[in-house]
Amino acid sequence: MSKPCHSGLGKSTLVNTLFKSQVSRKSTGWARDEKIPKTVEIKSVSHVIEEGGVKMKLTVVDTPGFGDLINNDNCWDPISKFINEQYEKFLKEEVNITRKKRIPDTRVHCCLYFISPTGHSLRQLDIEFMKRLSHSVNIIPVIAKADTMTIEERQDFKQRVRKELEMSGIEFYPQKEFDEDMEDKSDNDKIREAMPFAVVGSDKEYQVNGKRVLGRKTAWGIVEVENPNHCEFAQLRDFLIRSHLQDLKEVTHNIHYETYRAKRLNENGGLHPISSSDTQESNL
């Protein structure tokens, strides 16, 4: 999973909340001597988490520096490169003569893109990024720090964002073209209507109505993260983890990876991309 956005939009907190564990190291902003990196960096951290006897190796890829500079031209290039490198690694393993039974899969299955809750519309940077990457990775747009907007503003903003995504031809996950049957389509339609999810993350617990809940405490009330009346965190979590996790992997493998593979093979005139770089002869 990869998550680009400007720093400070709550990426690390949200990931920690989603997986109920410290999988993402929260940076306390730029340390005194650290400057905002001149180019976008890619930092990848892996954890093995377990639930009900099921183990999962979760890798979170962070992209500090994205969108933070004055000139953000092509700041999506390092990210695009990283995603393609993972595909390349997998491809190399796949075409090996003696290949491992289970190829280590470092491909990015899902990209959570955090949209700034300005309340107006998407930023140009958002559109540029999503346009370029929606064909190589599953993008799930998320409205960060949703406690900035009232319910009305949130609905207006979501509608506008959806319209803009449509107008720009950006297909976010779950993509309409990959719906397999009518049941899938109706389920996914409901989800698409509700996206992008407006979320609030928190790793602190407070007492509300006798229960301990995750939330943010302000002078005028406590925002409960898992309360569906307050924000859509629960919906995002259910969607991402409880129902579509496997599907995300399948779409990545069957569609995005295959697209990449076909492109690579075509570049080499139908030859194995690896063999043509190793030897000068053609062999298939």
Partner: protein, 376 residues
């Protein structure tokens, strides 16, 4: 010697103030204590003006805050552009002027808006249109001031710039630093933390500390509240101290009125509570309003006139004199100012007088020489 004494008495009479009449001497009261009232009456008649600039990315709540501060609705017919439409937009400067009146005092308020700032993918020098605008206003005032007819000078200089820092970051971003550094010697900058209702009190404190640190570190000169006089009472001094420690102000604005605690107040209604704009424990809106409008509006104007404008003017004159020296013209003691309305007739007159002076000087020189020869 009588003549001398008389002369002295005359000088005394002329230089000293009028001798009080016997009756007034008893009261020990001249009457100029009414001067403040006279000034007040004249100012109220003339009316006041104030130019405020708001800068920051779109969606920071600038328009809402301005509406909340001045209880107006300046942006009724605004159409928000979507991202596609904004792709080729450059930073614009838009002025809204509104005349408001309160208790007989008129204020002509001009809000200078800067849509498009910081919204592009490449924001290199996106502050240039803003610095150019501020310089243009200074230049226009400079010309008017140096002109011949100075009765109706229009003062369009920007008195204060509210800069909105997004609350989503971890402090100042590169674009914030560059913007403030480009403008801190041209205009009074007041940095604000926008949309403060998405931060918990702890987070606000951390962010404020962080921003203050970074402002020091980068040497940004934001507007400093003047020190209060030593003869003010303790309560005032305490309030003043609190105000200074609260910067940058974390503000929230609202265009809607909600019902809270039995009263109708400006606020934002969330499922988890109601944020009241004018509640001091919710945000610093009241502090900002008091500081900007109720106590320091005039000081902001003074600093603009006395410091920023004078800096500009000095720089301008320096450039002009150095240009003149380069052109190898006669070094004139006064810089030749570009008069906005060169009056041909008066110029002719000035030339004539100059020539006359030259002639008289030559004659004097001749006479002096003759006298010198005679003596010898």
């Amino acid at each position: 010697m009588d003549a001398i004494m008389l002369q002295e008495k005359l000088v005394e009479r002329l230089l000293c103030p009028r001798v009080r009449t016997a009756r007034q001497k008893e009261k020990q009261y001249v009457g100029f204590a009414t001067l403040p009232n006279q000034v007040h009456r004249k100012s109220v008649k003339k009316g006041f003006d104030f130019t405020l600039m708001v800068a920051g990315e779109s969606g920071m709540g600038k328009s809402t805050l301005v509406n909340s501060l001045f209880l107006t609705d300046l942006y009724k017919d605004r159409k928000l552009l979507n991202a596609e439409e904004r792709i080729n937009q450059t930073v614009e400067i838009i002025k809204h002027t509104v005349d408001i009146e309160e208790k007989g005092v008129k204020l002509k308020l001009t809000i200078v808006d800067t849509p498009g700032f910081g919204d592009a993918v490449n924001n290199n020098e996106c502050w240039k249109p803003i610095t150019d605008y501020i310089d243009q206003q200074f230049e226009q005032y400079f010309r008017d001031e140096s002109g011949l007819n100075r009765k109706n000078i229009q003062d369009n200089r920007v008195h204060c710039c509210l800069y909105f820092i997004p609350p989503f970051g971890h402090g100042l971003r590169p674009v914030d630093v560059e913007f403030m550094k480009a403008l801190h010697e041209k205009v009074n900058i007041i940095p604000l933390i926008a949309k403060a209702d998405c931060l918990t009190p702890n987070e606000i404190k951390k962010l404020k500390d962080r921003i203050r640190e970074e402002i020091d570190k980068f040497g940004i000169k934001v507007y400093q509240f003047p020190e209060c006089d030593s003869d003010e009472d303790e309560e005032f001094k305490q309030l003043d101290k609190e105000l200074k420690e609260c910067t940058p102000f974390a503000v929230i604005g609202s265009n809607t009125v909600v019902e809270a605690r039995g009263q109708r107040v400006r606020g934002r209604l969330y499922p988890w509570g109601i944020v009241e704009v004018e509640n001091q424990s919710h945000c610093d809106f009241v502090k900002l309003r008091n500081m900007l409008i109720r106590s320091h509006m005039h000081d902001l104007k003074d600093v603009t006139c006395d410091v920023h404008y004078e800096n500009y003017r000095a720089q301008c004159i320096q450039e002009m004199t150095s240009k003149l020296a380069q052109d190898n013209r006669m070094e004139s003691p006064l810089p030749i100012l570009p008069l906005s309305t060169p009056d041909v007739d008066t110029e002719k007159l000035i030339k004539m007088k100059d020539e006359e002076l030259k002639r008289m000087q030559e004659m004097l020189n001749k006479m002096q020489q003759q006298m010198h020869e005679k003596d010898q």
